[in-house]
Each structure stands twice: as structure tokens, then as C-alpha cells.
């Protein structure tokens, strides 16, 4: 058996495709298209309800632009380390792969930590809850879903790190890192939209 039959596997991955494009990458791009509609609806709702809250706390009273600028910078830097992780795995540099995957995951964790601090500060000191007003409802649900996406990405990156640490990742698997990177960059881009529309343009 072995390799001769394996070549006839009816599976799309790593095999000839009609377009020459890899199927896993293509399915991930369609997923990201779908995610655009998801975040588009969330952001659209935030914008529609902007200024419609009947009582405070209002955005300008609670949002801390300098603090969030730092965590935004942190997240943008994680895109850089993600690119370095991909470059490392492509040249079979397992040490570099581990280093940059861990760096990306840690930067992501710093961002999520910042969001946890932000949420608890808003909740405890500014008395902004999900139930306070339309701002509380739309703000927490929008940024919360983004934070959940970052968290999923962090789990994904550590999973790849674990594979790399056990020596089960090589340049043949660089697509797995590339797809995780696509997700990570997408989540970054969404944050740039949220940071601009929610924090900067109040």
C-alpha cells in the first residue's frame, strides 16, 4: 500500500485543483468574507445607535484613547511577529518559528489583558454595564466579540507552538501557519476599524 495509493487520495488538500489555488486557503478566504459581514453588522449597529443613549455614561466620559492606543500598537506589532513566524517556518527555522509564534501569542494576550482591564475599569469605576444604556450594550458586544476572536487566535497560535515544540511542524506545513496568520491579520484589521470608528471618532 503506502505511497502508491496515497497519490490517488480523493482529497483536495495538497493536490491538483482546478484553479491551482490551494483549497484550504480558499475556504479560509471565503470564511473571512463571511466574517466581514459579521463584523460589518456589529459595527453598523454601533454606528446607528451612536448618540442615541438616553442616559450616561457616554463614550467621551469613559473611553481612554491613550491607553487604547498602546494596546492598538501592541496588536499591530503582533502582525509583524506573525509575518516573521511564517517566514521562519518557510525556511524550516523551527527555533525562529517557536520564538515568533510565542511572541505573537503573548502580544495577543497583552491585548486581551488590556481589554479585560478596560472592561473591568469601565464596569467598576465608570459604572458602564451591558444594561446601562445603548452605548454599553453596543460597545461591549462589539468589542467583546472582537476580543473573543483574538482569544481564539491566541489558542490557535499556542496550538501551533505546541506542534512546533514537539517537532511536528516543518516547511511542508507552512500553510497551517499561513492560514493562522490570515486570521490573525484579519482580526487586526477589524480592530483598526473599531479603534477608528469607536474610539477616535466620538
Amino acid at each position: 500500500m503506502g505511497s502508491t495509493v496515497a497519490t490517488a487520495v480523493a482529497h483536495a488538500e495538497e493536490h491538483h485543483t482546478s484553479t491551482g489555488l490551494n483549497s484550504r486557503k480558499m475556504v479560509f478566504w471565503t470564511f473571512l468574507g463571511s466574517e466581514c459581514m459579521f463584523f460589518g453588522s456589529l459595527i453598523g449597529t454601533y454606528l446607528v445607535y451612536k448618540g442615541k443613549s438616553l442616559n450616561g455614561p457616554y463614550p467621551h466620559e469613559v473611553l481612554n484613547i491613550p491607553f487604547t492606543s498602546v494596546s492598538t500598537f501592541d496588536l499591530l506589532m503582533s502582525s509583524l511577529t506573525m509575518v516573521l513566524a511564517l517566514a521562519a517556518i518557510q525556511r524550516d527555522d523551527l527555533k525562529g518559528t517557536k520564538l515568533w509564534l510565542a511572541a505573537t501569542a503573548l502580544l495577543g494576550m497583552v491585548f486581551v489583558g488590556g481589554q479585560v482591564y478596560e472592561f473591568s475599569h469601565f464596569f467598576l469605576h465608570e459604572h458602564l454595564a451591558l444594561q446601562s444604556n445603548l452605548f454599553g450594550s453596543t460597545f461591549y458586544v462589539l468589542t467583546g466579540f472582537h476580543g473573543t476572536h483574538v482569544t481564539v487566535g491566541v489558542i490557535w497560535l499556542w496550538s501551533l507552538f505546541a506542534l512546533a515544540a514537539r517537532g511536528r511542524l516543518s516547511s511542508k506545513d507552512s500553510l497551517s501557519v499561513e492560514i493562522a496568520g490570515l486570521y490573525w491579520h484579519f482580526v487586526d484589521v477589524v480592530w483598526i476599524a473599531i479603534f477608528t470608528l469607536v474610539y477616535l471618532i466620538q
Binding site: A8, T19, T30, S41, N133, L134, V141
Partner: protein, 602 residues
Amino acid sequence: MATATAELHAARAHGESGLWSWVTTVDHKRIGILYFVTAFIFFLAGGLEAVIIRLQLMRPENTLVGAEAFNQLFTMHATTMVFLALMPLSASFFNFVVPLQLGARDVAFPRLNAFSYWVFLLGGIFLNLSFVFGGAPDAGWFGYANLTAKQFNPGHGIDFWAISLQILGIASLAAGFNFIVTIINMRAPGMGFMRMPVFCWMTLVTSFLIVLAFPVITVALVFLMFDRLVGTHFYNVAAGGDVLLWQHLFWVFGHPEVYILILPAMGIVSEVLPSFSRKPLFGYPFVVYSGIFIGVLGFGVWSHHMFAVGLGPVADSFFAVATMLIAIPTGVKIFNWIGTLWGGSIRFTSAMLFAIGFIAMFIMGGLSGIMHASPPTDLQQTDTYFVVAHIHYVLYGGTIMGIFAGIYYWFPKVTGRLLNETLGKLHFWFNLIAFNLTFFPMHFVGLLGMPRRVYTYSPGMGFEGYNVASTVGALLLAASVLFLIVNILTSVRGGKVAGHDPWDARTLEWSIPSPPPPYNFARIPQVVHRDDLWESKRAGKPALQGEAAGVHMPSPSYWPPVAALGVTLALAGLFFNIWVTVAGVAILFVGVYSWALEPPSH
């Protein structure tokens, strides 16, 4: 490496028969059959709900069911038919037929395909559990805010509804991603896009609509669940919220959704009509581009469902014009289907009769659709039985008749046996007459002003005769389905043996044995023409394929159903027990990790 592989062998699912082989299957044909059987059972359940609705409305001031039960019945009838019957029946054809028409051995992601099915099954069961646990949802399939607010709807029916739609949405999205990639990437060598069967084209357009429309209702339902469970204010007018937010989000999803329901049926009749007219599809590129155009326009017309809320003359005019525009590609398709029939040597098989019935009934539904594209007309028709007549002409006369055509057409390929043509023709005529008896009078009673979704009506309004006709029609319509059921049950073992190509058809699925072997194609075909099989047969080339040995296929897997169970529990637990959610997430993790680390085949 060798020992690791051996361990994997021991740990994996295997086997080709028995119940377990169906649970772990990743074969697109078996998954298609699972979709069909499950969706058909839900179709019967939704039909039963419709029959009870009609019995209640047979006489004025009838007391068969009360207002509460009536609200649950029409909500569950529509939700079941849209999400548990029509979409998955279409999905059963996507699954069974598309890879065969493409000349592929499976879909691009066989395990993701199995996952879609199991999530769909569990979501459908979960929705129907609401009947047992404290009452079914009762706010309509459209679930308008604030009929769904906790304050006005304190039971758990709406929670069941919202959560199960989220679960079903995951199934649809996963299938949508899978079929986009399958159709773009798995075509046989030589099958350019413009040589692809129209059914594959319509599946592609439908899949794009699914992946772009479903996230919007996901968000709308997330808001609803937050409002109900946590007390946020998305749809709370008292806190400055706007109930129209729901309507906009729902119909941004909901209008593409009706094209998700009709485009696959259009694809089916585009396969059936040429085969039984012995002519290629007339104006193939026009049919394809019209389908794409319908899909694109479908995202720009949602507010025609909302003329009655008073969006103002500018918005109303825009959406009226956009809606009327859709009549153009739709009309193009109808003329092309008629052009296909024109001058053909027509064989009136059961499949052909249903395809022709589709054209006729869909024209009627389309015409009433153009009527309420005009806002002043629509204001007279909104919330009356006229609209009920319209949607049933489109979704029953259109989608269901198209699906029936598909059943008669592809049953021989699925089972290797032909359905009985006499029973099939009886089914068609019974179905056609009963359908029109049920729904045609609704046009009149609607224009007379009978409101829909109201559990009874007063005598002396002129509604009685029409309602008796509709109820008698509905009972006959339910009975007509028996012809199909009996036909399927007797033919699946006792039908005439079909052979490879019983219809002298055009597309690749008819070049392989019936039922197809697990690997479909012994050798991957080389496509040269649009109707490749016809061209090969005409040229006298050996077109039909035999069996082969040693074709390696993806292995069965436990993990898709495990992951599906995890997703369902994680969402289901949200409103009754958070520990169920925690357990669900844990199961999901196990499922996803095992899935990701398991090679697709051994």
C-alpha cells in the same frame, strides 16, 4: 512513523455497512442521503402543522386550536419549512449531485461536510424539543422585535428558536464554504466555468448568498439573546433602541434567504428540461448570468419587506425599483426554459412534468411578487392572505415542485432503481390541482382583506367559501405526498433497474454506475464540451465508466459528529444551564483538536 500510522488505524472509524458507518461517513453521497431522509421527515412535520392551521381556518370562529397554539403552529410551520425542509432538501442535492456533475471524487472537505449534516440534525431536533419543554416559539419565522422581547414573551419558545437558528446557521455556513471551494476547485480537467452544469452554477451562487447573508442574522440573533438573557437594550424602545434594527438585519438576511431557497430549484429544472427536450439548455450564458444577477440584486431589495413601516418616499422608491429590476433576470430565465422546450422532442416523464409545473407556478408567484414590489399596492396586500398566496406559489409551486422534479430525475442515480412513472404522474396531477385549490383562493380572500397570522375570523365577511376550498386543497395536497412516499418505499428495492443512464442525459453523473461506487469515477473524466456526455455519445466514444480497484478515499471519522454535538450543547446550554455550555465547549475542543490532528485518510 510506521507504528504511529498503525496506531491511527486502530483508533479510527472504519467499516462500510451498519449504523455506525453512517454516523462516521464522510462520503458526500451518503451525507446527501442523510440530508434527504432527515429533511423529508421535517417536511412532513411542517406539512402536518400546515394541515392543522388549515383545519382551524376551515370555518369562522372555529375552536380546534386556540390563538396561542395557532401562533406556535404558524411560527413552527414556516421555520421548519424554511430551515429544516427546503434548505436541507436542496443541500441533499448539492451533496449527492454536485461532485458527480463536476467529475470529482468527493467534496473539497469531506469531514466538514459531515459536520454540516450533524449540526443541522441536532439543531432541528433542538428546535422541535421546544414543543415538549414549555411551548414552541410563537413570534413568526421573522421573529419581529419586540414580539420576541422577554417582557412580552417570557416563556422559553423564543430562546429555543433563536438558539436553534444559530445552530442551523453554523451548519449552513459550513456547507456554504465547502461548496464554494468544491465548485471552484474540484472541477474535472477541461470543465471551464462556462462548461459547468447550471445546477452547479446555481449551487455556487446559493453558497455565496449563504456565506454572506447568514452572518447578518447571526448578529441579529446575538442581539436578541443578549436582550433576553442579559438585559441589553438592542431592541428596547424604552432605552432609545429601535425595533426596526431587527427588521433591517433580518431582511438583509431574509431576502437573500428566499433566493437561497429558489435558486437550487432553478438549477434542478435547468438540468431536467434539456434532458427531456433532447436539446441543450437554450441561452446557457444568459441563464448563468441571470442567476448571478439575481444573487447580487438580492442584497439590495430587503426593505421591500418593510414598505408598511413608512421608510419615506425616497427609500420606498429605491427599493421598489430595485425589486422590479429582479423581474428582468427572472424573466430571462423563464424565457430560456421555454426556449429549451421549444421545438424539442419532449418526453413527459414525471420529472419533466414537475419541471414544467415549476415554470407555470413560478410565473404566477413571480407576477404577484411584482405586484407588491409597488409600495402603494403592497400597502393593500401587506399582512393579508395575498402575500401567503404569493410565497406559497414561489416556495411550493417553485422550490418544492423543483425539488420533486429533482427527486424523480436523480432517484435512479441514487438507488439504481427507477421510480414508478404511473405513481409519479398521479403524484404530479394530484399535487398540481390540490396546490392550486389550496393557494389560488388565498389571492382573493387576501384582497378582500383577510389578515394572515390571525387564528380565526368572523362569519359574514365573505371569507367562508375561499377558506373551505383552501382547507380541502390542503388535505388533498397532504394526501398527494403519499404517492411519492409509497413510490419511494416500493421502488427503492422493487423498482426497475436503472442502469448508468436511464434518461439518455447530458451530464457526467450519468456516465458512472447507479448507484455510484464510493469513489464515483474510476478515472477522472476529461471534459471537452458543455454537454459532455451527449457529445461523447454522439461521437460514439466510450462514454460510460466501469468499476475500479484501489482508489483510495478519505477515511470515515468520529470527530465531525463529536464536534457537532459540542457546538449544539455549547449553544443550547446558554439559556437553561451554563454547565451544559461548559461541557459543550469541552467536547467541541476535543472534537476540533482530534479532527485537526487526524490525517484525512490512512
